[in-house]
Symmetry: C2
Subunit: 345 residues, 2 copies
């Protein structure tokens, strides 16, 4: 039993292809008896209209493309999940690509998908793309009228819909919270020094410091590069006497930092508080459970998908929007309680 087409059914009953099509679609133009015969046969042979042919005809594939830099990162997994869920509920399939933080793969994918395969694209820039600043491929996308939504790792050089975490506010809020719990000298450990995201968080941090009349000290910002020894970096950092809080800009770094502090016999949060970014699966299972900034990945995915599909389906001019998704601080046991100064004495 091979793939069956209208043609085959038409041949079977000695009628035309259009008659079969109409019969299967229950058109009133076809007599009752013929319709029933054809429908029965079609069902028995598992006839299903060829999706590719339909896409060509309707000029609509009901498919959107998604490019994520790294699916093993829990945040992106969550976003992906959100996208898939809402896209699906609105009748769209998703064709997914993992750029693996590579500019070239991102480029290839964009070129591949922007040829009628998908009706729109949701993407987050690869690390390499952000570092290089080479975004011609995305510019072409917009020029070619391919609806596009960028999320999280975006660039202001491209004019399109965007969904971003309010990383500035997150950095600000986090720092402020730490200050409120009595911390005075707050360090930042970042493994994402190249991204817009990291810069924004640090800007928010600076603003909070400024508001509290604490001088910004560049020595307190530690950039962790690939293959760097975090243990060593933390040791060097702690030579700056008086550090009483560390903000880690990703979950793994937060957990690693916690372990390093513990191995040094430093009590968390009594001596040093820790806040990490991205509320993934690790944070609540370590001890003490880490206070984290949740970025609502799933919600971001849902939002991005809805914006994209709205644009695909809305026939007319729609101004580009940038949605700023607020973070939530999830307080656990790696920070002191607000107003609770007992630990200070």
């Amino acid at each position: 039993m091979k793939k069956i087409a209208l043609k085959d059914i038409a041949a079977k009953f000695g009628v035309s292809i259009s008659t079969v099509s109409k019969a299967i679609n229950d058109s009133h133009e076809i007599s009752k008896e013929l319709k029933e015969k054809i429908k029965k046969y079609a069902k028995e042979h598992h006839y299903r209209p060829n999706h590719v042919a339909l896409s060509l005809l309707k000029k609509s594939t009901k498919t959107i493309g998604v490019i994520v830099p790294n699916i093993l990162n829990y945040f992106f997994t969550q976003v992906f999940y959100g996208i898939e869920k809402t896209a699906n509920s609105r009748g769209y399939s998703i064709i997914s690509c993992i750029s693996d933080e590579s500019y070239l793969k991102e480029l290839k994918t964009v070129e591949l998908l922007s040829t009628g395969t998908v009706e729109g694209l949701i993407l987050s820039l690869s690390e390499e793309t952000q570092a290089k600043g080479n975004i011609e491929h995305l510019q072409n996308l917009i020029e070619n009228q391919v609806p596009t939504v960028m999320f999280d790792r975006v660039t202001e050089k491209i004019d399109c819909d965007k969904v971003v975490v309010d990383d500035f506010e997150a950095g600000y809020k986090t720092t402020k919270h730490l200050l409120k719990t009595g911390c005075k000298r707050i360090a930042i450990v970042s493994a994402i020094y190249n991204s817009s995201v990291g810069k924004l968080r640090i800007d928010g941090y600076k603003k909070a410091l400024n508001e509290n009349e604490i001088a910004y000290d560049k020595k307190l910002i530690v950039e962790v590069r690939k293959n760097d020894d975090l243990q060593l970096l933390i040791s060097l950092l702690l030579d700056n006497k008086g550090i009483d809080a560390i903000i880690a800009l990703d979950e793994i770094t937060a957990v690693d930092t916690l372990h390093i502090l513990k191995s040094k016999g430093i009590e968390v949060p009594k001596e040093i508080s820790i806040v990490g970014f991205t509320n993934g699966r690790l944070s609540k299972y370590v001890s003490p459970a880490l206070t984290m900034v949740s970025q609502h990945g799933k919600y971001i995915g849902e939002l991005a998908a809805n914006i994209l599909i709205d644009r695909i389906e809305y026939d007319g001019d729609m101004p580009y929007t940038t949605k700023l998704v607020k973070t939530s601080l999830i307080e656990r046991d790696s920070t002191k309680k607000t107003g609770d100064n007992s630990l200070l004495y």
Copy 2:
């Protein structure tokens, strides 16, 4: 600047569509001057052949479908990553669906994809599908000659290529290891009582017990259902005096179990050893770090993709294969060392 087709270029230069097509594909049939004019114009307007039309013409979409039950599960994320990577390297895109453990969504997806959209399918059964045993949709798939590879959660009722973890051996190996470290009364906590996977692991466990002449005790197998209180279940379990090891059939349960034991003041592994399944991100960050069974998710994905694409591209008969991927026991600190009996006394 809208989407541009051969038609538009043909109109621009007053030539036929076929001429333009040949010019762009650098055919010798077209004069040098015309070719250059057309190519220049095409490039300037970012012409790219419509992928849907090509798919229809070539009867090949260069796309495979992937259905995973739950992308937030790290094992599946890893498999997904492996699939994407190799599919991509072999020139295939992937269209992905998350069944969310729902039979209905799996069914809908299979029906949607088996209509010319994809050339083959890689899937792992949803929990509901496994529980219900309703696999007609997959039977149709095979009958309709859609190349299909099932991984991890498979059914023996369907005859197709399969890639499975050697869960029987894993259960056997794990149990044997625990016995070798001196454990005598080993319990199992399972949140996947419905799956083939869980049953196989328990079968392996039984074999190991049998070989060591230890009676199988059904009371030592705990099934954790949704919304069940694990804390309570563990407490009840521990009423069976003498339990000195627990095998948890998924990572979260392993970590949770560890926490519960710790909160009860039970020392791990001195009093009770713990081994968990699925070596994800959590296990090595808790303390003590958990000994886990790694299932090599990425490799499974790569294998599945290669098998599928081989079948798609090989024109002829190929017997169905079932690949059994061995697990690795990653020893950390939640189990005692082999031959080290010091902790026993």
